[in-house]
């Protein structure tokens, strides 16, 4: 046995592996938000009507709003179970930087919920008659946008994790912050449908991604310290 200062990468890998292991043993946590996503998207044609033209017009919005909601649904498990069984305290008390721990947990959350969403999105796009030219834009915006959802959402969860009925409050806190991502992502998909370049919107989403990647873990760390207080 030896006392060693773990490298940041080792800490990151340790927490990531732990969270993924837990998720793999609790598969319904992965599947349920995904099912929710699919069901919400299939409800829209039933509510609006099966005309291909209308559907393809609103498809980007539907897919993105459903993605927002299913992320919101899955966010709860990001810190809740760790808070309930005390392992969150232990993590905050470890000599490792909170930034790394938090980032690893968020990345794990994205791998568990964001990635499956991206994989299944083209299938749903087919159901909604999304314009063929938009598929690339859909995947790219989801790829850049869903991490932003996880990062911003983590702030909200960290703030509400100590509150008994934090679920409803969470949506009030987090959804307004999601608006820019929603606007730019859907507009990128719309622009792509017209055959125009959408790199501008993508660049803005990328900027949002890097901005939240650097700032959100700090906010999450501070919020967790308040919540475990």
């Amino acid at each position: 046995m030896s006392v060693a200062n773990l490298s940041y990468r080792a800490v990151f890998a340790l927490v990531l592996k732990r969270d993924l292991t837990i998720a793999m043993r609790h598969k319904d946590d992965i599947i349920n938000p995904l099912l929710f996503f699919v069901i919400v998207v299939t409800l829209f044609p039933l509510g609006i009507g099966p005309e291909a033209q209308t559907l393809s017009r609103i498809a980007p919005g539907i897919i993105w709003v459903a993605a927002l909601l299913s992320t919101l649904l899955s966010l709860d498990r990001l810190f809740k179970s760790d808070h309930v069984d005390g392992s969150l305290e232990q993590m905050l008390l470890s000599p490792q930087p909170v930034f790394i721990l938090v980032l690893a947990k968020i990345v794990a959350h994205w791998l568990i919920t964001g990635l499956p969403l991206i994989l299944i999105a083209p299938l749903l796009a087919v159901l909604l008659h999304l314009n063929e030219q938009s598929y690339g834009a859909l995947i790219l915006t989801l790829l850049l946008g869903t991490p932003v959802l996880s990062l911003l959402g983590a702030i909200g969860v960290a703030l509400t994790v100590g509150i008994k009925k934090g679920g409803v409050l969470l949506s009030l806190l987090v959804l307004p912050l999601y608006i820019p991502v929603l606007i730019f992502a859907t507009s990128a998909i719309d622009t792509a449908a017209l055959g125009l370049p959408y790199s501008g919107q993508l660049a803005i989403i990328a900027a949002l991604f890097f901005g939240s990647l650097t700032l959100a873990p700090f906010a999450v760390g501070a919020a967790l310290k308040v919540s475990t207080n």
Binding site: A4, L6, T21, I22, D85, Q90
Partner: protein, 270 residues
């Protein structure tokens, strides 16, 4: 045991009366003199421990706190609490339910911020030397910090690695044997009993290199034999120059009363 407890209690009550600022202080020298006068007029044993604690004063206190004030839900739990914990101390915090024992432990561990006052690790603010302090701190709260979805071995491995201790799997099994979890290494924590849960968390103590152990009700759900071996562990830890701060409703059985320092929290609003 009961006798001693009462006298210390009334002593600290006296303190509350005399001192408007309401310091519950751990003034060991005065404390021992008091005990000496009261019960053991001639005790070599006590005299020795008295010089011990005097010698320890030359070094910086392992953990000290000044003027701690804690308010929870707009209730004052303690006010202007000053304490000093040296290497080789075992400190038991007592008080009725809701008197702020857990809050005090959490403040000392740096988990909660006090309303007022500071906590120092070797004369350095714990907020400033966070990493060094956490390297030398082992805190176990009410909640065990054990994941249901992981096996006993995985839990222990994660907890140790996170706190900077790398360990081989053979050693992991040894440690779990010490914690009396033989045969349960590979069972998911969700299949284990409350006591075994607790043991997984406590198994960390056997490998800990931290000086300061802060334990909130470590004996809950632990059987008699387990309590005994934990107390042996505390003894070894203290001998090596560590300190133990704990809350427990039972008294420590294998320690002589003079070894255990007590802090009584029993604050009444002014």
């Amino acid at each position: 045991m009961i006798l001693r407890y009462r006298i210390i209690r009334s002593k600290s009550k006296n303190d509350l009366h005399q001192n408007k600022a309401n310091r519950v202080r751990l003034d060991f020298v005065r404390y021992f003199q008091y005990v000496k006068e009261c019960i053991f007029p001639l005790s070599a044993n006590l005299a020795a421990s008295e010089t011990d604690s005097l010698a320890a004063e030359n070094q910086p206190a392992l953990l000290s706190a000044t003027n701690l004030t804690c308010i929870r839900e707009e209730r004052l739990l303690f006010d202007q609490l000053t304490l000093e914990i040296n290497a080789g101390d075992i400190v038991q915090i007592e008080g009725p339910n809701g008197s702020g024992k857990t809050s005090l432990l959490r403040i000392l561990a740096g988990l909660s911020q006090p309303y007022n006052g500071d906590v120092f690790y070797k004369n350095q603010l714990i907020t400033q030397s966070r990493e060094e302090f956490h390297q030398n701190l082992l805190y176990l709260g009410h909640l065990a910090g054990v994941k249901d979805e992981m096996t006993a071995q995985e839990n222990l491995n994660f907890n140790l690695t996170l706190h900077g201790l790398s360990i081989h799997s053979s050693e992991l099994e040894e440690t779990l044997t010490l914690a009396n979890l033989t045969g349960f290494e590979d069972s998911l924590a969700s299949h284990l009993s409350a006591g075994q849960h607790r043991r997984i968390a406590l198994a960390r103590l056997y490998k800990s290199t931290a000086d300061i152990w802060i334990l909130d009700e470590p004996f809950t759900a632990i059987d008699k034999q387990g309590v005994n071996s934990l107390e042996q562990l505390f003894k070894a830890h203290i001998k090596q120059g560590g300190c133990v701060i704990l809350t427990t409703h039972q008294d420590l059985l294998t320690f002589s009363p003079s070894q255990v320092k007590k802090i009584t929290l029993d604050y009444i609003g002014e």
